[in-house]
Structures are given as C-alpha cells and as structure tokens.
Amino acid sequence: MWVKSLMLREIRQARAMIWIIPLGHFLMLGLQRYNEWFMGGEDLIALRVRFANSMLEAYQYGNMESNSRMMLVLALFVLALIQIGAERRNGAQELLFSFPYSRRSIYVTKWLFGVGLLAGSLLLNTLIDMAVMASSPVSSYFSFAFHANEFLYSMLTVTALYTLALFLGAISGSIASQGIFSGLVFVLPLGLWVLIERFLRVHDIYLSNGRYYSYRDQYQFYRYFSPDYYLFVQYPFLSAKYVIGMAALLLLAGWGGMAAYEKNRAENNGKLLLFPVWDRILQVSFVACFSLFSALFVSEMLSMSNELIWYYAGLLAGAFIGLSLIRRLTRIRLKI
C-alpha cells in the first residue's frame, strides 16, 4: 500500500499544509497555554493560579484541546479538498490513474499522508504543551495521562472526520461540491432536526411535555451525528461512547471512501456527484429538505391561523421548486 513516489507527490502537492497545520495547531494550543500561564501581569497570573485548584482546572477541562481539534478538522477538510477535489479539475487525477498503481494504493497514500501530518502535528504540539505546562506556575498539576488521553482522542476524532472528508471527496464530482458536502457535515444534523421537529409539531406531536424546549438540553440524539459533539467534549466527560462513535465513523468512512475511489468514474468529473446511486439519494434528500424548509419558512412568516394549511402550502411549493432546482444542479458540470 505504501508507494514512495505517490507519497512524494502528495507532499509536494500539499506542501503548504505541512507547515500551516502544525503552526495553526501551535497557535491554538501551545501559544494559548503559554498565554494563560506566562503572559499578562503578575497579579493576573497569580489570580489564575489561585483559581486552579485541581488538575482539571489547571488544564481548563481540555477546552484548548477541543478548540485545537476543531482547527485541525477544518485544516484537514481543506487538505482533503486539495487531495481529491482539486485533482479532478487540473488533470492530476487522470495522470494518477494512468500510473501503474492501483487506485487503492493511491487512496491509501493520500490517507496516510493526511494522518501522518496529523500525527506529527499532534505529537509536536503535545510535547510543546507538556513543556509549557511542566514549566508553568501550575506544574504541580502536570498530568501525563491528560496529555496522553487528549492526544489519543484527538488522533482518533480528527482522523475519523478527515476520513469522512476524503469519503465525501471520493463521491463528489468537483472541488465545489466536495466543499459544500463537507460544510453540510457540520450543519446538517441540527438543521435536519429543526426541520423534522417542526414537521412533528404542526401535527401536534411534541417531543417534550411543553411547547418550548431547548434543542441543546432535552433532545440530544441528533447531536450524536454532529461533529462538534465529539470535538468539543471536555476531558472529564470523555467516555467510551465518544470513542466508539468515532471509531465506527472511521471504519465506515474508510471503507466507503476506499470503495468509492476504486470505482471512481472519472468521466463524471465536474458533476455534483460521481455515482448515479448517490445522485438519486442527493435528489431525494434535497427535495425533502428544501420542501421542509420552505414549509417552515412559509408557516412562520404567514400563519396567523391555520398553521397546518400554510405549512403544507409551503411544503408543496418547496417540493416543486426543490425538484426543478436539483434537476438543473445535477445536470450541470462545474468548472471549479
């Protein structure tokens, strides 16, 4: 699976990311830690030290690591765009496919490059972070276990989401559609939940005892599909369910991405999606979401009474507009 010439090419293609990712990571972790315990007036630092009465408080419950994970995921999503989406339009993919390597080897090399870059950045920045903590005024709370757990969990979580980004690249037909689908990963779970909840509510089906509730507190199952649920978990709450969730994503996206890349239909480059089966799924999902959103919008804007009627008027209008929109969108070939 390891092909040196392909790896050298990946390094060359994404060489800017080789320093952007560790540097960005440092800005989010090591520098923040340094600022926390070394920058500012002596009084301020003394105040911070006074409030740090436990290992968790000294490490701020792992919030800096959470923010770093988010930054890493965004950076690796960009890397996935460079590795797959951009190659579809500059002829690089066709050149790669003409080489005497299996598509599986090409895909695995890409994945290994991204994961290697992530591991390197995590290792380097964890060591910097450890050095900062060990020399800080709260060094008595230094915990190797904290660093090790955060390292391993970040490695798993970011790798899983990067693998998902590569999978999306493997089924998308252009860098633009890959970018859109990658962005949807972050907003779709909550967005879908809002649409479904509204649909149920106009039919007098309430998922809580009252009419008003918080999405955040009471109905959390949509969050299991949301990346931020896994990225922003605080250290004390880190448990097996997060690890299992991300491990499952890693396996599924890894298998799916590899299979899609092996069957890659280069003749469909430029389309929204490469495979007819995914095209059909996209069309149905788009029409469903568009009509539900239209129904929500119309019923919110117009319904003084007869909410259900306005809701269905919006639903029908949305279905019609959504259908014609997606038909046009799936026919065009994007140049970007």
Binding site: S5, N90, F99, P100, R103
Partner: protein, 294 residues
C-alpha cells in the same frame, strides 16, 4: 501485445464505445481517426486505465491492465495538454516519472530537451503550447514503455514544432515503440502509420495502409459523356468526393454486389482515371455519412 476485447463504455447515457475489438503488436504505428466526439479520447483513457470500462478488457500480454495496474508500466498515455504537471519544471517532471517508471531514461530526456532547446528549469505552465506538446512527448517516450498513446500530439502547434514532434515519434517507432496516435491531421498519419483504426458510432474498424491504397475502395476521376447518372452517383457503392463542372472525383466500392465499377464502364465516360487512394479518402468513405458533399 496489447489486446482490446469487446470494450464498451457509456457516458451520460450515450454509448461511446460499443464492443471495440482490436490487437496491437509491438513496433506498429497506429493511427486512430474518427469524427469529433467519435470516442477517440475515451478509448485512449480506457486503454490507459483512467476510465473503467462498462464491459470488455484491455490486456497487456494477456493480463488486464484494470485488474493488474502494474501492467500499466508498459502503456503510457500522453494527453493533449500536460496540465497536471504545470507546477513542475521539466527536470522535476522527469524526476517524478523516474520514480514511477524504472525504465525512465533521464539521459534521453535531458539530451532531447537540450536538442529541442527546451529549458529544463522552467515551469511547464510557462511553456508555449508547442513546447508543452514537445515536452509531453519527450517525457512519455523517455519512459521507454513499449506502448505509447498520443492524443492529438500535433493539435494547435506550429509547423516547426509539429515536425519536431513527428521526428521524435518516428525515431521512437524505429526503436520498436508502438505508437497509437489520434489525430485529425490525416496527411501526417498517412506518412507515419502502418495501421489505421477508424472509429464510428462507438465501433472500430482496422485497416492496413496497404489496403487503403489497393483495397476494395478505389478512387476515380470521371467525366461523363452525357448527363451524370444520378442513380449511379447516389448508389451506396459510390461516393462523390468532388465535382468541378463535369469532372467528378468518386470513390467506388469494387467489392459491392451490385458492381458499381462495371456499371460506370457501361456509361462510356469521356475520362475514367484511377487515382491513388489517400487516408482522407478512406476517412470520407467511412465517416462522411450520407449527407457528405465533396
């Protein structure tokens, strides 16, 4: 030997390749001709492993290049633009290819580029169209792969660059490299090719150049004594290439069951001169369609 068997490919619901069959032996120069959109590039990309066929196989020495990608060491595809290497210099490209193709001849690459006065240290993006094509051709030939597929190698380049590309190709052919060249420039193909693959409606026909000259279809210049016989001119065995006054240049299928050649003799024309067949004539005969007017 490179064997293409029953190759089919449908793109956007349109059958671009339909059961394409042919064999290429080593040391041949093969021209691929066809109307625009006939599927030449699709055929090349499928033969190079870029596209996956819906049916059929491309085999090198009996092994499918899609199932055994390492066999692609023996087949190099040179597209009409080296866009993928724009960010590389010529030398960096050579280094990259030398990692992939163990037989890559760096000496040949450097010497040939030097001979062609192409800079080794300039980015390919900064090359002119002609320079890019020359560079691509040299890069492909330097791999020393036994089969080289060239998609429109002389398209849009000036006469000098064209001559240089053709010279390079002829030198490679003399060394035993099989060249498969797609081009609309039939005069060039005629000079270099010993086999012609004619693509039409997704299918392919193989013709030896010798057959083109002395085969079933023959070319005549005819001047009829009286009014030109419309029914004969419109028969499926006859194609009018050109008409100047009463002088007709026609292609006649001598093997047709109706016997168009004998019929022409019966009209007792003032002039009936046999002309040498050219590749362009074959192209018109095979691909001109029923509406072709010379």
């Amino acid at each position: 030997m490179l064997t293409v068997s029953n190759l089919s490919k449908t793109i956007d619901g349109q059958a671009v390749l339909r059961g394409v069959d042919f064999k290429l032996e080593q040391g041949r120069v093969v021209g691929v001709v066809g109307r625009n959109g006939a599927g030449k590039t699709t055929l090349f990309k499928t033969m190079a492993g870029i596209l996956i066929p819906d049916a059929g196989t491309v085999e090198y020495e009996g092994q499918s290049i899609h199932a055994t990608p390492s066999k692609k060491l023996n087949i190099v595809f040179i597209p009409d633009s080296p866009e993928a290497l724009f960010s590389y210099t010529a030398m960096e490209s050579a280094l990259f290819f030398s990692h992939i193709y163990p037989t890559f001849d760096k000496g040949f690459f450097s010497n040939t580029l030097h001979k062609l006065e192409l800079p080794l240290d300039r980015k390919i993006r900064q090359f002119s169209k002609g320079m890019r094509m020359l560079f691509s051709t040299v890069l492909g030939l330097a791999t020393k792969a036994p089969f080289v597929l060239l998609d429109e190698p002389t398209n849009g380049i000036d006469a000098i660059a064209k001559k240089q590309v053709m010279t390079l190709l002829m030198e490679a052919a003399e060394e035993g490299t099989t060249l498969v060249i797609s081009s609309h420039l039939l005069n060039e193909l005629e000079r270099v090719a010993d086999t012609i693959l004619v693509m039409k409606a997704g299918g392919i026909e193989t013709h030896d150049m010798d057959e083109t000259a002395n085969g079933a279809v023959r070319k005549f210049q005819v001047v009829f004594r009286d009014e030109a016989p419309a029914s004969w001119l419109n028969s499926p065995s006859v194609r009018v290439l050109d008409k100047i006054g009463r002088v007709y240049t026609v292609l006649v299928d001598t093997k047709a069951p109706i016997g168009a050649l004998e019929e022409m003799g019966k009209f007792d024309p003032l002039l009936m001169e046999h002309l040498p067949m050219k590749l362009e004539d074959l192209f018109v005969w095979k691909l001109g369609g029923s509406n072709y007017v010379g």
